[in-house]
């Protein structure tokens, strides 16, 4: 009895060990798949055009600064300008989106009014409508009223962000006791001031996560900006990167091309490396109920 028992448990043990090895192998394979292209990007951004034409290499070389200088001072693609433009658009969009989503969520969370449920249902319903559906009319209006090559038509729509609203609403339900709001009222604090000085600080973790997500989304946005920003000095980074693709490829210094791509993704990559834990937590918090 005991003999067969221990044989059984040994077999189960071996089975588990084999299973673990397979699982780790899959995980490592997928990780390599995810990292490979970015590793190649980094390595190739440190090699000269001649080295790149010469063959494949797994280890970085010493020409990073040279490529950076060439990319930074390129005559046709003004990447420093693009980075500044993108920071301007993505930064303002992120701030507006986060602030107004919190404000809207608070309006529905903290007050009772007649259209409250209707407003909530409406926001949930428009959440899934793809932005491309309004693009035709939006582009037409921008061309009609001379609003192309301006940033505010790309920034202001961020005020109405259903997904961020929903995230904020969920968060408030779990962390915001109405007693605090009541107490502020008793102390004679105005409603708007209560929101700005008492409620907002309590939402800090949620605000931080949504600031990052909306920044990244706007930073990476290509479709609408590419239709509206036509002047070279107004273009954002994704448009410049796409331009590389349509340029005459064979004449390019490839070290420079890799450097352009690296510069485009680096800001987001750096933020991610430092805040990956809270970003990953933020992925789930808003989308899955309890």
């Amino acid at each position: 009895m005991t003999v067969s028992d221990s044989a059984e448990s040994r077999r189960a043990h071996t089975q588990l060990l084999v299973l673990r090895i397979i699982v780790y192998a899959i995980l490592i394979f997928l990780s390599i798949l995810c990292l490979f292209s970015f590793y190649m990007l980094f390595v190739n951004a440190t090699r000269t055009n001649a080295q790149l034409q010469g063959g494949f290499a797994l280890l970085p070389r010493g020409h990073f600064m040279e490529n950076l200088r060439n990319a930074w001072t390129d005559a046709s693609i003004n990447i420093p300008r693009g980075l500044v433009n993108s920071f301007l658009v993505a930064g303002s969009t992120a701030v507006l989106t986060t602030y107004f989503s919190a404000l809207t969520a608070y309006g529905i969370h903290a007050y009772d009014f007649k259209c409250k449920n209707a407003a909530f249902t409406f926001i949930m319903a428009i959440m899934v409508i793809p932005p491309q559906v309004s693009a035709t009319g939006f582009v037409q209006l921008c061309y009609k009223y001379g609003l192309t090559n301006r940033y505010w038509p790309l920034i202001l729509p961020g005020i109405a962000a259903p997904v961020v609203f929903f995230y904020m609403k969920q968060y408030m339900e779990s962390v915001l006791p109405m007693e605090i709001v009541e107490a502020a009222r008793v102390d004679g604090c105005g409603e708007f001031r209560t929101f700005n000085t008492i409620v907002l600080p309590m939402l800090k973790p949620a605000m931080a996560v949504q600031l990052i997500f909306s920044f990244v989304q706007s930073w990476n946005n290509y479709f609408l900006p590419s239709l509206l920003l036509t002047k070279a000095e107004k273009k954002t980074v994704p448009i410049m990167i796409a331009q590389l693709r349509s340029a005459d490829y064979s004449k390019f210094d490839m070290g420079k091309v890799y450097m352009f791509i690296l510069l485009a993704i680096l800001p987001v990559l750096i933020v991610y490396i430092f805040l990956s834990k809270s970003i990953i937590r933020g992925v789930t918090a808003g989308s899955v109920k309890g």
């Binding site: 190739n44 791509i261 309890g290």
Partner: protein
């Protein structure tokens, strides 16, 4: 004092949600209405001359579904492309994500380094799609590192032109979509599995169910609502596929427009020709497809409550 207690704060509620609705009305609702309105008009630029706007009824829609000289209907071809590209990326994405979610939440396996793996597999989701596409284009180009490896290994004497064959272009687009989204799906499904009442797993274990039985009889049925939600939101996302095929193929959907998606088609009409009539009609079609899909999302969500 007594009177103060019955103060209505309702107006603050309206005031606080006003900016959202104002912004939505101006920047989304009006353009949307205009898009639909446009779809019934002839309105485009030909060189320097502006044609229209003239009311043409359903002519844009009829034109959209009229076969060209070769007997092919562009909008159906591009809808088909979008569907194929989505399925090729989404099926492995959901299968692998489900598998990983089970690995990560398994008490028996006790996977170490979860945070590291999650960080790595989620990363591509945040990368600029146009930069990621440009990167793949350079890596897989005729003189790129992948071809250099292939030739160095002696697998092929001549470089493989990945961007000349339908199969390889579609495979690359799907691979990129897979890489960009499977980490995100894994994390969502993990949260779903962790939301399942643990005592159910214990009960299944006590009843002598093995891992596979537990998965099919306990985990999968309880995970269904989230799985359905994930699939449909992925489908709506897939319908919007643009950045990756646009940049990877330089907007041409090469070869022979077999990787042109619906939104790329829309984008072509919004380019220099500014054909708001045709663009409007395509948008309405995308809108209707999304509407039908969203109804499924709504159903799957309300069923859970």
């Amino acid at each position: 004092m007594k009177k103060k207690k019955s103060i209505s704060y309702a107006k603050w509620g309206y005031l606080f949600i006003l900016p959202f609705f104002l912004a939505y009305f101006v920047f989304t609702f009006v353009p949307q209405a205009l898009t639909i309105y446009n779809s019934f008009f002839e309105n485009y630029r030909e060189g320097l001359t502006q044609v229209g706007p003239n009311f043409v009824g359903l002519r844009n829609y009829i034109q959209l579904f009229t076969p060209d000289a070769n007997g092919s209907i562009d909008v159906l071809k591009y809808a088909g492309n979008t569907m194929i590209l989505w399925v090729l990326g989404a099926v492995p994405q959901i299968v692998i994500a489900l598998l990983l979610a089970i690995f990560f939440t398994s008490y028996r396996l006790r996977i170490r380094g979860q945070q590291f793996f999650k960080t790595v597999i989620y990363m591509p989701n945040l990368i600029m799609a146009s930069a990621f596409s440009m990167l793949f284009f350079t890596l897989f180009s005729n003189v790129g590192p992948i071809n250099q490896i292939i030739q160095a290994m002696g697998w092929s004497d001549v470089p493989i032109d990945f961007f000349a064959k339908t199969v390889t272009v579609r495979a690359l687009i799907s691979l990129m979509n897979f890489l960009m989204w499977f980490g995100n799906t894994t994390i969502l499904l993990m949260a779903g599995i962790m939301g399942i009442d643990q005592s159910l797993f214990e009960a299944a274990n006590l009843d002598g169910a093995n891992a596979i039985q537990t998965f099919f009889k306990v985990t999968l049925p309880l995970l269904m609502p989230i799985l359905v939600y994930t699939v449909i939101t992925a489908l709506i996302g897939g319908l919007q596929m643009f950045d990756v095929p646009q940049v990877l193929t330089g907007g041409a959907g090469t070869p022979n427009r077999t990787s042109t998606t619906l939104v790329m088609f829309l984008n072509n009409y919004l380019g220099s020709s500014k054909n708001y009539g045709m663009a409007g009609a395509i948008s309405v079609i995308i809108f209707i497809i999304t509407g039908v899909l969203s109804m499924f999302v709504y159903r799957s969500l309300t069923k859970k409550d």
